[in-house]
């Protein structure tokens, strides 16, 4: 694979990751959110596999497989199950309307470019063009958490953010050391499971997953 094509493919994958994250801002139902997250994870898996093939790196193949199992298969399925159980809250009711959300996503992307500029300048890797996009996904995920009321969509936002970081690590350093990567996977998985349990508890206690209703402690 020539460097040019590799660069283009990696940048394209990063853009698709960002766009999948932004797609959440435009979609209006939790199943669509979950689908967009699964798709985003899939693009990252593809990027990691392409990188692994180019670098002939077995560890990266392992990372890609783990990521596929966890973020493309398991987590979306688990989220869908929770969503079915929790029921009526399929509507996501953001605090911010769609055009404004999209405009903010645009601004966040510009900010990400500004922030990542010294990083891109230092890097010699052919993947450097995607780094601002990965950082932008982190910001977009953060924005999803901040602007959505339903506990489940906040989880999706957190996972989008997590995806952005995973992509950033891949693009910037061709992956952090395997032991750290495994620890991160474990933490993300456990964190996800704990959050999932709390969605049920919130629903049982408040009869909704609208976190806006969680305001007994604001004093």
């Amino acid at each position: 694979m020539s460097v040019e094509i590799f660069t283009t493919v990696m940048t394209l994958a990063s853009s698709l990751v960002l766009l999948a994250g932004i797609a959440i801002l435009w979609r209006r139902s939790l199943p669509a959110y979950i689908h967009a997250f699964a798709r985003q994870s899939f693009f990252i898996v593809v990027a990691v596999l392409v990188l692994a093939a180019r670098e002939r790196d077995r560890e990266l193949v392992l990372v890609a497989l783990l990521m596929f199992a966890l973020k493309v298969v398991f987590m979306p399925a688990a989220l869908r199950r929770v969503q079915r159980h929790v029921g009526a809250d399929a509507d996501v009711r953001p605090y911010v309307n769609t055009p404004v959300s999209l405009a903010i996503a645009g601004i966040l992307t510009l900010v990400a470019y500004a922030v990542a500029q010294p990083v891109v300048a230092l890097s010699h890797l052919p993947t450097r063009g995607g780094m601002p996009l990965a950082l932008a996904s982190v910001f977009v995920g953060l924005f999803i958490v901040a602007s959505r009321r339903s506990a489940l969509s906040q989880i999706v936002g957190f996972l989008v953010m997590e995806n952005g970081i995973a992509l950033l690590a891949v693009l910037a350093t061709y992956g952090v050391p395997l032991i750290v990567e495994l620890g991160v996977f474990l933490d993300v998985l456990l964190g996800f499971l704990v959050m999932q349990v709390f969605v049920y508890r919130i629903r049982d206690a408040f009869e909704t997953t609208d976190v806006d209703r969680l305001r007994s402690l604001r004093h």
Partner: protein
């Protein structure tokens, strides 16, 4: 602006232009007919044959015009303005060969303004007779245009940055010379943005339903509701032409291969054949898309357009900042 280079000068070039204009005028109704035909088949209907729009146009040209008593001269002039501006755009967009001498006459920015001129004229015409539907349609159409225009400008600019020119012919020529650039995210996002804008501007689903006369949802049809006879024929033809121009622009920016880099007779004929195939394929894609999409509720339209605006913005950031 970088002038149009290449060997395309003199008589040959003029012939290419004439051919392009004729091709666009003649094919445009057929392409729209094709979309309708494929849609009908996909929806399990038999549908009218693809050449049905030609029959409609012929019929309309033969009919008498009825003009509302409330209408002013604007009502009469508007169809000609719309038709002429759209035809001018059809001549400026590189369909068969690039770059061309006529590129000097206008670049992308001119194209954008010509399109806006057409929208403006038809919007005025919708308001002019003072009918309720016409005003409603105009207001909706102009709202959409106001949202779509900045996107076109941004997307076009994103495409212009790598080519170093806002000249459409240059941009297409550059895309042929550098095929890797066609895969770059900036390029693709700009095309995606243009595609969405195209759906909005050409009055296709999910923004407008070209097949409906249901007062609550129609936009373009509402504006031309008062027209009949030759004027209606001109407006319809202009709408077909606009759709065709958008499709061929997208086709040539996205998949530039096949566009002749020198206006030799054989190259141009090959280019014409390839163009027809590309546009027909895109039209089929639009048809498939339209059968799968429902029309958006009107308040969702600005959201869709802000998606395309965002895409264009992302396209321009990635074109500019990743150099």
């Amino acid at each position: 602006m970088i002038g149009a280079g290449g060997g395309a000068t003199g008589l040959g070039a003029i012939l290419v232009e004439v051919l392009q204009g004729l091709l666009a005028l003649l094919l445009a109704p057929g392409i729209v007919g094709l979309v309708r035909f494929i849609k009908a088949r996909l929806q399990g209907r038999r549908g009218a044959p693809p050449w049905q729009p030609y029959r409609e146009l012929a019929k309309l040209f033969g009919k008498e015009m009825v003009v509302s008593r409330n209408a002013s001269w604007i009502f009469g002039v508007a169809p000609y303005v719309v038709f002429a501006s759209t035809l001018a755009v059809a001549l400026l967009v590189p369909m068969l060969a690039a770059p061309l001498p006529i590129d000097r006459a206008g670049d992308l920015i001119v194209v954008v303004y010509l399109l806006l001129l057409g929208t403006f004229a038809i919007g005025l015409a919708g308001l002019d007779p003072g009918s309720a539907f016409g005003g409603m349609g105009s207001s909706r159409a102009l709202t959409i245009a106001a949202l779509a225009e900045p996107t076109i400008a941004l997307a076009v600019f994103a495409l212009a940055v790598p080519a170093g020119s806002t000249n459409l012919g240059r941009i297409v020529a550059r895309a042929i010379e550098d095929p890797g650039g066609a895969l770059s995210p900036g390029h693709l996002m700009a095309l995606a943005a243009l595609f969405i804008v195209m759906l909005a501007e050409a009055g296709r689903l999910p923004v407008d339903n070209p097949a409906t006369h249901l007062e609550l949802t129609m936009i373009h049809e509402a504006m031309i509701l008062e027209y009949s006879g030759r004027s209606l024929a001109l407006l319809e033809w202009a709408a077909f032409l606009k759709f065709f121009v958008f499709l061929s622009l997208l086709a040539n920016l996205g998949l530039p291969w096949g566009v002749a880099l020198n206006p030799g007779a054989s190259a141009v004929l090959v280019a014409a054949a390839i163009l027809i195939v590309k546009v027909a394929l895109l039209a089929a894609a639009v048809a498939v898309l339209e059968t799968r999409l429902a029309k958006l509720r009107l308040f969702r339209v600005p959201e869709l357009l802000s998606v395309s605006f965002l895409l264009a913005l992302l396209a321009i950031t990635s074109s500019f900042l990743v150099e």
